[in-house]
């Protein structure tokens, strides 16, 4: 029953600074942070107070409008501060980490004997639920919306992404336990989608209880969006849940050990990293230990939790995001560029472009050091057909973006807003001549749909 999908559209942005396959285990971070903004649309209701002590696995906050969904502390420590912004909105919860760790422990459970509801209750109570995301809307899954299928992508095709075959090597038992748990949550199938490009790790190739699909093509082949679209597309009124491969292992580890253990291996990448490598650390960890002596010092550097297309900008002493599998270091592009040399009319051998307006196509192997300059000012939509080249859906991207910008709910529904997440538009945003923040527009469109139609 497995399906093989071939994507013809897409774009692999060739950046410098791929992580070497060497893993360094970082010591316990001094602080960890949880940011409600990582969980889009969630209004946090605090459980822990400033100064109180929490164990690993203890609840920090929950969703005010769906209280069973809880976020727990990855490590034991003391709540150092709750950082608030305008209107007392909670921006970040900082936890000073204990030197000796203690965690909440549950008796281990045999998944095969559990019912779907029991698995769901266990995951909600243990704080594992935020790993399960839902489409439409690309938010944490609402536990009562029965999904018609669950999708897991076994690889990440984003620029410089971590290779799960390497970073998750040896986690076979945890990963399989995670799959078993997820399989209990749906009456439909659990789809695990593999890349045809490389040899896949045994835990992916021989995963049990799931439908294994293969997909080939350029980025965004590794995103669940196109995988869902070509394997089991979402129609209005249907739900599909998705989980990151690394997070499946975290879920499985809980069932195997009875402990919430949010360790994962992330890749430090990007042209400004001295020696990009893999690092074993934990969700929400302070990255100053990671970046120590690892950043090239010349010029300003943008630190991104996540990949260059969809990640979040963080400070050099900031913290890893909840879903991040990599940290990307790029040069900031806040300089003027003279138009004939490095600017808009230059030869542009240093620019990576999907269009033939730059000689990128002459150097198909070259890797690029791209900065964060927008390379131009915002303009109206003039050029057509460029988004379509990197958008492997049977959806009209420009029309959908325009519907989202104009708050046209009917238009968005008709054009397929239920099937997409902002990350699916990341490449569109990259290639678009207008320099409009397309992901942001799609997010606003999804929020509107969430309010009006769900």
């Amino acid at each position: 029953m497995s399906k093989t999908v071939r994507l013809k559209k897409g774009l692999d942005i060739r950046l410098l600074g791929e992580a070497e396959k060497v893993t360094i285990t970082l010591p316990l971070p001094t602080t960890i942070s949880l940011k409600p903004s990582d969980f889009h649309g969630m209004t946090p209701k605090m459980f822990a107070k400033e100064g109180s002590h929490v164990k690993a696995g203890e609840v920090i906050f929950c969703n005010k409008y769906n209280e069973p969904v809880k976020i727990v502390s990855p490590l034991s420590g003391t709540i150092q501060s709750i950082v608030r912004g305008e209107k007392r909105k909670i921006l970040e919860i900082l936890i000073a980490v204990d030197a000796t760790q203690e965690s909440l422990e549950m008796p281990t459970k045999d998944i095969s004997t559990m019912s779907g509801d029991e698995v769901k209750e266990t995951m909600l109570a243990a704080g594992l639920w935020p790993f399960v995301k839902q489409r439409p809307l690309d938010i944490i899954a609402t536990q009562d919306n029965a999904p018609k299928a669950i999708f897991i992508s076994a690889f990440d095709s984003a620029p410089l992404a971590a290779d799960f075959n390497y970073s998750m090597h040896g986690q076979d038992a945890d990963f399989q336990a995670g799959l078993d748990a997820l399989a209990k949550l749906t009456n439909g199938k659990v789809h695990l989608t593999l890349s045809t490009k490389s040899a896949n790790d045994a835990k992916f190739e021989h995963a049990k209880g799931v439908q294994i699909n293969k997909i080939s093509g350029k980025h965004p082949a590794g995103n669940v969006g196109p995988q869902i679209h070509h394997i089991d597309p979402i129609n209005k009124g249907e739900f599909i849940w998705t989980v990151n491969a690394q997070d499946v292992a975290i879920i499985g580890r809980y069932f195997n050990t009875g402990k919430y253990d949010a360790h994962k291996t992330i890749a430090l990448t990007g042209s400004e990293a001295v020696a990009p490598k893999y690092y074993k650390t934990i969700i929400g960890a302070n990255i100053s230990a990671l970046l120590k002596d690892a950043v090239k010092t010349e010029g300003k550097v943008r630190v991104i939790s996540g990949n260059a297309l969809t990640g979040d900008k963080i400070d050099a002493d900031g913290h890893l995001g909840f879903y991040a599998n990599q940290v990307t270091l790029l040069p900031e592009g806040d300089q003027y560029k003279f138009f004939l040399t490095t600017g808009w009319l230059g030869l542009g051998f240093d620019k990576f472009s999907n269009s033939r307006l730059f000689p990128t196509f002459l150097t198909p192997k070259k890797k690029f050091r791209l900065d964060t300059n927008t390379n131009g000012e915002e303009r109206a939509f003039v050029v057509t057909g460029e988004l379509e080249k990197v958008f492997p859906f049977d959806i009209f991207p420009m029309q959908l973006v325009k519907a989202a910008i104009t708050d046209d709910i009917d238009g968005m529904e008709n054009l397929g807003i239920y099937e997409v997440a902002p990350e699916d538009f990341a490449l569109c945003e990259y290639v678009c001549t207008t320099k409009i923040n397309i992901q942001d527009k799609i997010r606003q469109g999804l929020d509107l749909i969430g309010e009006e139609c769900m």
């Binding site: 269009s355 003039v382 050029v383």
Partner: protein, 387 residues
Amino acid sequence: MEPNFVKGGKLEKWNPLFETLSTFAFTPKIITTKGAHIRDGVDLKRTMMTVIIALIPCLLFGIYNTGHWAMVAEQGNRDLIFWADQSTKILLGLKVVLPLIVVSYGVGLLIEFIFGMFRGHSLHEGFLVSGMLIPLVMPADVPLWMVAVATAFAVIIGKEVFGGTGMNIVNIALTARAFLFFAYPTSMSGDKVWLAGKEVDGVSGSTALGDLASFMSDKPVFENLDAYTSNYSLFDSVVGAIPGSVGETSVIACLIGAAILVFSGVGSLRIILSFFVGGFVMGLLLNLIGGNPYLDLPAYYHLAIGGFAFGAVFMATDPVTAAQTANGKIIYGFLGGLVAIIIRVLNPAYPEGVMLSILLMNVLAPIIDHYVVQGNIKRRLKRIKTA
């Protein structure tokens, strides 16, 4: 210098001007804040510049061709050898074409600046191309003040009232040409306007299309089609050594431009090809009907004379006014070519059917897109029903 121009500075009002000049000289230091942290190198400036580069062959050939026919008019000898006296012809051509370009850019950019100052934004790049296209679609002998009026009309009514670059419904350069065509028909058609300078009696400055149209009148210029095709040989028409609007005559120059546009991805191959196919198919159909020299003119001739190639390559492909969906572009181009030949042949009062056809298709493009998008929507709805 910059602080004077930012909000609150003493020269705040002139910020659009400052920004236009500074962003021309330097790609600004704007950095990404949301979403993708890196962005493609392309921007509208480079895209538009590519179109201008693609226009250069047409422009250069247009200058030479205009010079040639100006010399023909001067000496009263239609049989001058085309490739002789190059430098004189180039000078003569420059004398005609340069003022056209200066007026077109001058008037257009001034108006765009004024609108930009009111709206508080820098100059958007769309007019860089329109300003070059306008002189190229004008007859050589058009008075400069008419170019100025037409440009002003096109920029204000054709574009700025809709919101500026990217918002217009119909092609700006064609709006300018259509305005003159209907407001001052004697300066835009007939056999007097195509040769620059003073005309000597006995030299007809008529174009291939004009002479073709004359078959339908009481006094045809040529007695039969053979005489016509020997006067306007296919070779001359493809090379462009015939009278016509400044930049439109040479099919070869247009095709070089097309190659640049298609290779760089700025112009749509779908539109260009389907436009030619549409014109050719219609020409064949008319050949089948036959009966008079106009209908009997071989279909491929239609593609070589008049502004057909220029329209297909530079006008129909304007992404703002063309269809935006891939399939829509094919339909749009095909119908555009088809209608151009229908107007040209079946309504000889308007020999230049390409202009009218593209303007018509500009207006129809959103409808074509609508049906293409509806097809996609229906496919999605069908999925629910079959599931």
